[in-house]
């Protein structure tokens, strides 16, 4: 197939397409695997991306509808105009500014603390290869694999005893531990295939363990560490059950708990829910977009070799 493509090209060129001149320099770089297959892959991925976004379009549509419009034309109709009252009403009803601050504080702290904890654990397990690391890893992973509902009652009693019930700190502590289980596992797996010569070279240069960690291991694992930061932030942002139980006063609640106000016992407010959801995605989206740039800019192991 790939061999046929270049031969095809001249006959097609006579017909002439607008995109053709731009393709040529790219082909020089790509060399093998015909250019058209590159565009085929791009086209397929663009289609996939659009399909992935369909539910978001539906959310956006409903966020901009009046409740009456939603009821008469159903959830899938295109809105007739821009109706921003839903967003405004929700903002005022739940004091959204305060919820945003709470969510940012909780998710931001968990992202940093959880990542730090993961790095420390993974350094000992992946690079240090301490005795019984398999069992330590499994133990730490328990934080992730326990069904959260089983932690609710015990955590409630412990935090009540400690005077931390209904504080943001309680949620921060819990999620730092839960999220770092995944971080420890991912990082220690990655670090166990870390190039040993690099470490030994540093040790010969007189660096101690602490310095090796921060000067060699952390910079080289940066792409993975950024992934952890992003994931921890977003996951904690969307957590529902534990914040729902631990943060009972409205002043401490998070964005995802505030969404719950819109679901009554038998009625729900679909347009306002959509508006609220859209409002709730924006911070995580911004966060993801800022950090995703660094995802593809990491220093590769190969580059250091």
């Amino acid at each position: 197939m790939t061999l046929l493509k270049p031969r095809d090209a001249p006959t097609r060129r006579t017909r002439g397409t607008a995109a053709r001149p731009r393709r040529r320099p790219a082909r020089a770089a790509g060399r093998r695997g015909g250019m058209s297959s590159g565009y085929a892959v791009l086209a397929a991925l663009v289609v996939l991306a659009v399909v992935m976004l369909v539910p978001f379009v539906i959310v956006a549509f409903n966020a901009l509808k009046t409740p009456t419009e939603y009821s008469t034309h159903g959830p899938l109709s295109v809105p007739h105009g821009l109706y921003l009252q839903g967003v405004k009403d929700f903002w005022n009803r739940v004091d959204y500014g305060q919820k945003l601050v709470n969510s940012v504080i909780i998710s931001g702290t968990v992202a940093v603390a959880g990542t730090t904890l993961s790095v420390l654990n993974a350094y000992a397990l992946g690079i240090g290869r301490v005795r019984g690391r398999l069992w330590i890893l499994v133990l730490l992973l328990m934080a992730n694999l326990l069904p959260q509902e089983s932690l609710i009652y015990p955590l409630y009693f412990m935090f009540k005893k400690a005077g931390l019930y209904d504080t943001r700190l309680s949620v921060i502590i819990v999620f730092t531990v839960i999220q770092s289980a995944f971080g420890t596992y991912l990082l220690s797996s990655v670090l166990s295939s870390f190039p040993r010569p690099l470490l030994e070279a540093a040790r010969i240069d007189g660096a101690n363990r602490w310095q090796v960690l921060w000067r060699i291991v952390v910079p080289i694992s940066r792409p993975t560490i950024v992934v952890l930061l992003v994931f921890f932030f977003i996951w904690t942002w969307n957590e529902f059950l534990i914040p729902l139980v631990m943060l009972i006063s409205n002043d401490n609640q998070t964005v995802s708990v505030a969404l719950g106000v819109l679901h009554g016992q038998r009625l729900m407010d679909a347009t306002m829910s959509s508006a609220a959801a859209l409002l709730g995605i924006i911070p995580t989206l911004v966060f993801f977009l800022i950090f995703q740039r660094t995802l593809s800019r990491g220093i590769t192991v190969g580059a250091i070799k």
């Binding site: 015990p154 531990v177 740039r293």
Partner: protein, 302 residues
Amino acid sequence: MTTTARDRRGYLPYLIPGLLLFVGVIAVPFAMNIGIGFTRWSGVGTPDWIGFGNYKELVKDSEFWASFRHNLALVAGMSIIPAAIGLVLAAALTDIIGRRFGPRTASVLRACIYLPQLLPIVVAGIVWSWILAPDNGAANAMLKAVGLDSLAHDWLGDPNTAMWAVMVVMVWFQIGFPLVIFMAGLQRVDPSLYEAAEIDGASWWRRFWHITVTQIRPEIYVVLLICTIYSLKSFPQIYVLTKGGPGGATNVPSYYSYQNFFEKTDVGYGASIATVLTLITVVLVVGFIRAQRGQLDEEGQT
């Protein structure tokens, strides 16, 4: 091996904060959960000690064991399929799109595919039930528009397709997670490996299989295991999409335990389900990590 036992011990202090926090937030509560599993308790007041009563009941509880079978499908939908697709996508985005059309194009596409992970699951559930609605849902409308009326279906309502529909939604929801991890992992891969293979005339699939997959094997293991764990404890997805229906066809153990905790307020029974579920998961995880370590150590020696 240059690392000696004494050298290894020097790394132990790095584990102290992690282990301390773990004991406080996970170990003690889990021990309490095991204790609650031996009682009859409604969440308030004093629990009644009933020994193994809950477990005896659990062994006979056909609903509980049936829910495990449904979870297998969820493992596929949340772990295996997204990991496989994510791997191909990550390779295509890094290798083809990133190199031919620039990293910016690749990261825009990655962001789009990752986006579902940002949507609160409650909202995602509502939107998907609109899409999959039998009479005026978008999915059926689309099928009718292209003349495939006969394929239109009550996706979430038919016990035969409900689990499949849930799986599709799960793949949609989950796929961004492996993609981002794999793409980050691919940053570690030495580009000269690809260049060498290309000069040797290896096809894209050969390079994918022999370089990409081999090089980011640690990430693949992690994604598979973590996603499997998520699928074992993923009641929110089931809760918002089907509530275990129709007629229990999509019930999973974690939802079953949740029901007992909060809807039947049979906290003791819920705790015993959670304990069993945890033990099963632990066994699974130990087996998996052992296999992984075997693999990685083998590679380390060669």
